[in-house]
């Protein structure tokens, strides 16, 4: 059973001749291996694409079937792009925040974080590499998913002649905004996961922020609600992916303004997560 272990002449703490050190490239490779070597990643990503497209199919098929019975006013108010990609925004977000949280909290629930930090004690670098790899995966899935959901939706709306084309005003903006909001929501969850270090707590809190708080805000008087809702991270996703021009209400931000609000919260959480990871005992 025993085999001799080969010994290098390296001495503890001695600097290697070229003064190289374990750094970003290796850590990025390691994080890629981590994310692609567990099944939950694939489950989550397949689910994300499925629910987004399924929503688009259901919504477009339903609209196409009822089109002849719809009033002129309803037809004019129908936004074929928004109705195709809102599934990605609402349901896709439910999925991506789980994956974003797990990327960091699974390390805590298994205590693997201690091994990770022992092999890569530069904590900020580990945290950044993890976030970058997760973001890359989220981008690689969310953008194709948004275009796929949109194309499928427009195909199924063809009989109504109300289907949108990419060249129409704000259509591309809405498709991109839906994907961006998914990526940001995932990073939001990752940052909060680093702060809370618990899968259940993180997912509960993110669902609360995104879905519950905007509902509770409806209890506010209307004037306050409009002012409050635009500052909430999950407040105006449907507005952000609308193809109509500037927001109807002066109380609401534009598409990019809405994404900037979510991006701002995300940035703050990512920074809090980094600071706490560096400061706290692992």
């Amino acid at each position: 059973m025993m085999t001799a272990v080969t010994t290098h002449e390296a001495r503890p703490g001695a600097r290697t001749a070229r003064r190289r050190r374990a750094g970003l490239a290796g850590t990025l490779r390691s994080e890629v291996t981590k994310i692609i070597s567990v099944r939950s990643t694939y489950w989550a990503l397949v689910l994300l694409v499925l629910v987004s497209v399924a929503w688009s199919v259901a919504s477009s098929t339903g609209t196409a079937a009822h089109w002849t019975h719809m009033s002129a006013q309803d037809r004019a108010g129908f936004d074929p792009t928004q109705s195709s990609v809102i599934g990605l925004v609402l349901l896709g977000q439910l999925v991506i925040v789980v994956l974003g949280a797990l990327t960091i909290t699974a390390e805590y629930s298994t205590q693997a974080i201690r091994t990770s930090l022992t092999v890569m004690p530069r904590r900020g670098l580990l945290y950044g590499a993890k976030a970058a790899v997760f973001a890359a995966v989220a981008v690689a899935v969310a953008f194709p998913a948004s275009f796929l959901a949109w194309f499928v939706g427009q195909r199924l709306l063809a009989s109504t002649h109300a289907d949108a084309t990419l060249g129409q005003p704000n259509v591309l903006r809405a498709i991109l905004a839906s994907a961006i909001s998914v990526v940001l929501a995932g990073l939001f969850s990752y940052g909060l996961g680093a702060v809370l270090r618990s899968t259940a707590a993180t997912i509960t809190a993110v669902y609360g922020f995104f879905f519950l708080v905007p509902q509770l805000a409806r209890a506010l008087p209307t004037a306050w609600y409009d002012d409050a809702i635009r500052w909430l991270p999950g407040g105006q996703f449907d507005g952000a992916i609308s193809t109509s021009g500037p927001p109807v209400s002066p109380h609401l931000f534009s598409t990019w303004g809405e994404l900037a609000v979510l991006g701002g919260y995300t940035a703050v959480l990512l920074i809090c997560g980094a600071v706490l990871l560096r400061r706290r005992d692992a």
């Binding site: 010994t7 503890p12 001695a14 699974a106 298994t110 205590q111």
Partner: protein
């Protein structure tokens, strides 16, 4: 070489480790010994840069752990055998670690062979027994072919075969000139494995000396306290008895026995 200078760790008002200074030298198996809750794990975590000392320093060859160029090539550590994502295969798990330190992929299969896990390299680690987990943890520690190896309670929960395997492995690593640090609360295990002992109790250093010297010191105290000797050599007690005598004031829970005299006697009976 691992050097701790006045290492102190406080959690709120409780001190886990107080003013600990020691030097761990290469070529020996150093036993890190203490009752449960003595601060062994805390100290090891501070050596590895996982926990920050409240005061004092600990260095690896003169450098704080976090500043090592390639940590895995200097220090290999096994803290918690099961601390890993069970959904990954043994090979993927080791690969995620190796990649951070630019260790070539082939080394992963090398260490899997070394610890006897080559046959299950492609299996997800969720179903691994504790013994297999310990082997996988040791494989991870060996990835960077480090000069220093740190094992926290490596024989905990292992069957007899696993214990012998780990003991033999640790001895051979030290024989190759490596620094091996192994913590345990099992005296009988240390007696068979360690050359040198660092003993702590309630976070304080109790002894930092050779195994023989420790037993000699403990023997004096134990015999002075009236331990009934039933072994053929009445001037020397077992490590367990020596340990009980020297740490009698430092254990947290006595199972109803008062400290000192009785604790030392209890050692004789428990040592049967």
């Amino acid at each position: 070489m691992i050097e701790a200078r006045s290492l102190t760790k406080r959690y709120g008002s409780t001190a886990a480790v107080t003013n600990l200074s020691f030097t761990i030298r290469p070529g020996l198996v150093t036993g890190f010994l203490g009752p449960n809750g003595a601060g062994k794990t805390t100290t090891m975590r501070m050596i590895l840069g996982l926990d920050y000392p409240s005061s004092g320093t600990v260095t690896i060859g003169g450098v704080p752990y976090a500043r090592l160029d390639y940590p895995m090539r200097h220090v290999g550590a096994l803290l918690e055998a099961r601390a890993r994502h069970g959904g990954r295969t043994a090979r993927s798990h080791l690969l995620t670690l190796a990649q951070t330190n630019d260790i070539p992929r082939r080394r992963v299969d090398e260490v899997l062979g070394l610890v006897g896990l080559a046959d299950v390299a492609g299996k997800r680690t969720k179903g691994f027994s504790l013994g297999m987990s310990q082997r996988l943890g040791i494989a991870a520690a060996l990835l960077g072919d480090p000069q220093i190896l740190i094992f926290d309670e490596p024989v905990n929960g292992l069957d007899a075969e696993g214990i012998v395997w780990i003991r033999t492995f640790m001895r051979s690593l030290a024989a190759e000139g490596r620094t091996v640090v192994v913590s345990s609360h099992l005296m009988s295990e240390m007696e068979n494995t360690a050359d040198h002992l660092i003993v702590i109790g309630r976070g304080h250093l109790i002894a930092d000396c050779g195994l023989d010297e420790f037993i000699a010191r403990g023997s004096e105290l134990a015999l002075a306290n009236g331990v009934r000797m039933q072994s053929p050599a009445p001037t020397k007690v077992s490590l367990e008895q020596a340990f009980m005598a020297l740490t009698a004031d430092s254990v947290d829970y006595h199972a109803g026995l008062p400290a000192g005299r009785e604790a030392a006697q209890y050692g004789t009976e428990a040592g049967r």
